[in-house]
Amino acid sequence: MPSVDAIIASPQLAGLERVSHGGGGRDIRDVRLAEQFADLGQAPADSIVVLGRSASAEATDYRFDMGLRWAALQGVAAVAAYSGSRWRPTATAADIAERSGMALISVPGQAEITGLIRAIRREIGGTAEVALARAEAGIAAVNRLEQQGASLAAMCQEVSQALGTPVEFSPDPGAVGAAVVTSQVTVGYIAAPAVTGDLAVAARIVLHAAAAAAGRIYDAERRSRELPVRSRGQLLAELLISEAALGEDLLDRARQLGVPLTGWHVAVRLEADNLDDAGRDEVHRFELLEAAGQVALQAATGSGTWYLSSVSRAIVLISMSASDPGPQAGARAARAAERVLEAARERLPRLRLRAGVGAAHQGPLGLRASAAEARAALAAARAAGRNDPVVAHDATGVQRMLLEWYASDSARSSVRELLAPLERLGSPRAETAIRTLAVYLDEQGSAVRAAQKLHLHRNAVTYRLRQISHLLEADLADCDQRLALQLACRARLLQ
């Protein structure tokens, strides 16, 4: 049961003041309204009796003294009266109150009486009523903050104030906490570590609302951040998919979105070999590709300006530059593609992604061309049964050159002669040896990189090469021999 002083300390009863010396510690069980002094004698024990305004105006009357005495006999704990300025009870009234340990309370003149009685009722009502009142205040605060789009910190602070207990954003939910979820990922918890009892129940309700609101605020923020990205991606998809001539409208939109269509573009196309198995339904597959796209964009960004677009069942990353990126553009894009695939393997291990890389071309039509090359590269690789994760368009025409050269008999017999010692190992050892050599030479003699490519330990690569160079009786330090062997391996592996 709260005491008189505890009740009037409540923020909703601001302005009430005890004007008697004693009575502050009296327990209050009930509240009554007295419209006339006679009502004072009807009030129950341990109650606080609030005098109506007209009765309050007469509080200097002898009848108030009489009423107060009856109230004292009834065991009333406190009498409150309205007063323009701080109530000054008469000496005789103060005396009566003092003798019976009653509290006399001054109520500010403008206090609205039903609100006052209700607020006192709440305070008396005990912890459950108070908790409910706090819950109400807390939810109101949450709604208000969500409308304003407030920060998480502001949310925690205001909820803390409304509940009257500390509230914080924490990685750990504790006993009373609610998860803040954004794009299906829990980023943390809004928790009230110090709360107990009825207030804990109220806090749980409010924290749930707060966490949900915070999640929605996060999502809204992310969407507004991503919106330009999405609309750009949308634009590029339109560009890539449509085969019609490019309208002014498209170019205009590109300008508005800040997409430099007039520059140079290199396209990287990502496809998942096992998309049908990885996703349980079309929606899920779509979600997986979406996620993969995000991961890809994050991984690619850092080496130039990349844009992301989704086309049917594939992700297209486009590197755009204002000026001609030079002959190494494709290679750079390929390396970026490798990083992307690595990141994707980590975050979405279930998806087996491959990347096709196009050559650098200029302008919106050039973008289409690069994208088409990337697509063709992947198709060709699949057709050839190659498993390389990253395949590049043969921009330099190396493949063509090799094919033409290898068409001649003399070339063929040179290759056979060169690689004969390895062929004599017989299949599959021959393939393995040739492949090892090819990769080693492609990686310019780096055993480490070759090992990575071949998924072997460096020592294994070194060992194999010792064998191979011994068998071939070749000096791999000699650049001519190296070139000859590289060509030979390439040609051999074309088959």
Partner: protein, 360 residues
């Protein structure tokens, strides 16, 4: 028993009338001055008992109607009583045998004997209240059903009004407004009656009582207040210091509250006195200690002289006493006319002997 009122008697009478005036009725000093002058000019007035007169002799109850304080400036000519008597005799066709104060309290206890002395008539040892009350029908004659008519009023200028009112309440309204026109006060007579009627319609022996109270005050050995209480049969309520005097208007009544903080044996106690023209209610801790129609008087603690309500001031050392009223006021009709509710107080009358017994 007949008695000539000499100077010591007059002085004692004045002090006694003040005590019986319960704070109202006007300062008897003015009445005393008039009485002493009358004594000097025409000799002492005779005080007689009702039993000393034949039953059919006519009694003229009289006094001042209006604000007693006006008396200080608006001085009478001394012949008002004779004017009243002349008109009364003419109207009734009877001779007036004696005068009687309508109220013994305050200066109205002394005026009739000035008028009587100048006419060579006696005053009877009785009055219509046994104390002071503000309104004309608040007299025992009204309770006894005596006809208030005819009412006669006169002022120092010689104006005369004769009233034939349908009731005591109407007599009050008419005479009150006439008094205002007179300049605040006028001399009046109502409720003319025979001695036979007067026996049951008056409070008897009040002159004697007043004189005895005054004598007790003058000649007390030791505590004068105790002496008064012994004579009047009253109860001490509290002795202390006035700490608050407040006047306000509520529901048309001019009301005041006086708070007295107990001293000595009464230290720690607080008495609240509700006043209008007279002291009407005494309360302590929200409980009534005494109320109208019982008499409540504020005495100066040193001199035991009564302090009129308008003279109560912060810091005065006072003793408040209560005395039982004449029994007739305790009847239903009496309480209707002059009980607490008649003065706008919202509680029922309890005799002071009971209340004093409760707190004793």
């Amino acid at each position: 028993m007949k008695r000539l009122l000499d100077e010591p008697a007059l002085r004692a009478l004045a002090r006694g009338c003040a005590v019986l005036g319960t704070g109202g009725g006007g300062d008897p000093r003015i009445g005393l001055l008039l009485a002493l002058q009358s004594l000097e000019e025409v000799g002492p007035t005779e005080l007689v008992d009702l039993d000393d007169l034949p039953d059919d002799a006519l009694i003229m109850p009289c006094g001042m109607v209006g604000a007693p304080t006006v008396h200080i400036e608006k001085i009478e000519n001394g012949g008002e009583g004779a004017v009243l008597r002349e008109h009364l005799e003419r109207l009734t066709g009877r001779e007036v045998a004696a005068l009687m104060p309508a109220e013994i309290g305050g200066s109205n206890g002394l005026l009739p004997l000035c008028w009587a002395g100048r006419m060579g008539l006696p005053v009877v040892d009785a009055d219509g209240m046994g104390r002071a009350f503000p309104l004309i029908p608040q007299v025992t004659m009204h309770l006894a059903g005596v006809d208030p008519n005819p009412g006669v009023m006169t002022d120092e200028r010689g104006n005369v009004l004769v009233f034939s009112a349908v009731s005591g309440e109407w007599m009050e309204r008419l005479e009150r407004s006439a008094a205002v026109e007179f300049g605040g006060a006028g001399a009046a007579t109502e409720y003319t009656m025979t001695v036979g009627q007067a026996r049951d319609a008056t409070v008897r022996g009040t002159f004697t009582l007043a004189i005895r109270i005054g004598e007790a005050l003058t000649s007390a050995v030791g505590d004068p207040i105790a002496a008064v209480l012994a004579v009047a049969g009253g109860y001490p309520l509290m002795s202390g210091k006035v700490t608050d005097v407040e006047r306000r208007t509520t529901k048309g009544f001019v009301r005041g509250s006086v708070v007295i903080e107990g001293l000595g044996d009464d230290s720690g106690r607080l008495l609240r006195l509700e006043i209008q023209n007279e002291n009407l209610v005494a309360l302590e801790q929200g409980t009534v200690l005494a109320s109208v129609p019982d008499l409540i008087t504020v005495l100066d603690t040193e001199t035991a002289d009564a302090i009129p309500t308008e003279r109560v001031r912060y810091g005065q050392r006072v003793t408040v006493i209560a005395m039982p009223c004449a029994p007739v006021w305790r009847s239903d009709f009496g309480l209707r006319m002059a009980g607490p509710r008649a003065f706008g107080y919202d509680f029922d009358y309890v005799p002071v002997e009971e209340l004093a017994g409760a707190s004793a």
